[in-house]
């Protein structure tokens, strides 16, 4: 996704989560994918964004979180996103997305159905295997 990143007016967790929720709504409305979106935030700036795009890209791996990580990697020119966190819409990320956050070295996962009810999912782990 080469679209320019729209930064929220305020650098609050609720504002970042609202962007993720807005991206989710866009994905569903445009038919790109299911209603999931995510943003990667580093030093109070969104450095990557993504929506579920499994239909538009014919890609079973194109969940919102994975697309946001790919976008942040592309824009920063690095596969190491240490120091960044992810805000993602919906419930707790699936094992694919949670492990993708782990591989990208993200510091923390926040998820929410509503911008004013954010759950801190903690640091991503590899999980039990």
């Amino acid at each position: 996704m080469a679209d320019p990143i729209r930064q929220p007016n305020t650098s609050t967790p609720a504002a970042f989560m609202q962007r993720a929720l807005d991206l989710a709504a866009e994905a569903e409305k445009s038919g790109r994918g299911n209603a999931y979106g995510a943003v990667i935030v580093q030093e109070d700036k969104i450095i990557g964004q993504g929506t579920n795009a499994i239909y538009a890209q014919n890609d079973p791996t194109a969940h919102g979180e994975v697309e946001a990580i790919k976008d942040a990697c592309r824009r920063t020119g690095s596969n190491d996103l240490s120091g960044a966190v992810i805000y993602t819409s919906g419930g707790s990320p699936c094992p694919m997305c949670a492990t993708a956050c782990y591989w990208a070295n993200l510091d923390r996962i926040f998820y929410a159905h509503r911008a004013d009810e954010i759950t801190d999912g903690g640091a991503p782990g590899y999980g039990k295997c």
């Binding site: 890209q57 014919n58 079973p60 790919k70 990697c73 699936c94 094992p95 694919m96 039990k128 295997c129």
Partner: protein, 143 residues
């Protein structure tokens, strides 16, 4: 009913033709798996030659390779571009759908939790890994 009849006739033919028939069928399927796992290893060699991590994977449908996946974590600066993920993405592009039912994933190493779950989302039928071609069955949600 049809399934049951097919199963019964299968059992009957095994009884009729004896163990040699079964042995031949197993040898034939091993040969097919060996050919595909070799292609997964050639993807690994390719990844290494490009300066990437030593992993490779391919997706096969009806005996045809539909997705090639060398690891592209380093070359694409993409933390999610494990070999299995790249093979699944390529298969989706080839087949024009995110639903990879009836596809088999061959991979050089046991998949990580991300890749295992990606194969689950893609409805992959079966996963085979490594030189020993060990059968990991249908991918699960998590591991």
């Amino acid at each position: 009913m049809l399934k049951r009849r097919a199963l019964l006739s299968g059992v009957a033919s095994m009884w009729a033709f004896g163990p040699a028939f079964v042995h031949q069928a197993v040898a034939q399927s091993n040969e097919i798996h060996e050919r595909f796992i070799a292609q997964a290893f050639s993807m690994r060699d390719w990844a290494v030659s490009e300066g990437d991590q030593a992993f490779g994977a391919i997706v096969v449908k009806n005996g045809q390779v539909v997705g090639l996946g060398p690891s592209r974590v380093v070359t694409n600066w993409d933390a999610t571009a494990h070999a299995e993920m790249e093979a699944l993405r390529a298969a989706g592009r080839t087949l024009g759908t995110h639903d990879l039912s009836d596809c088999i994933l061959y991979t050089t190493s046991p998949p990580c939790r991300m890749c295992e779950t990606a194969a689950y989302w893609g409805n992959i039928e079966r996963v085979y890994t490594g030189r020993s071609i060990s059968d990991r069955g249908k991918p699960g949600y998590g591991c």
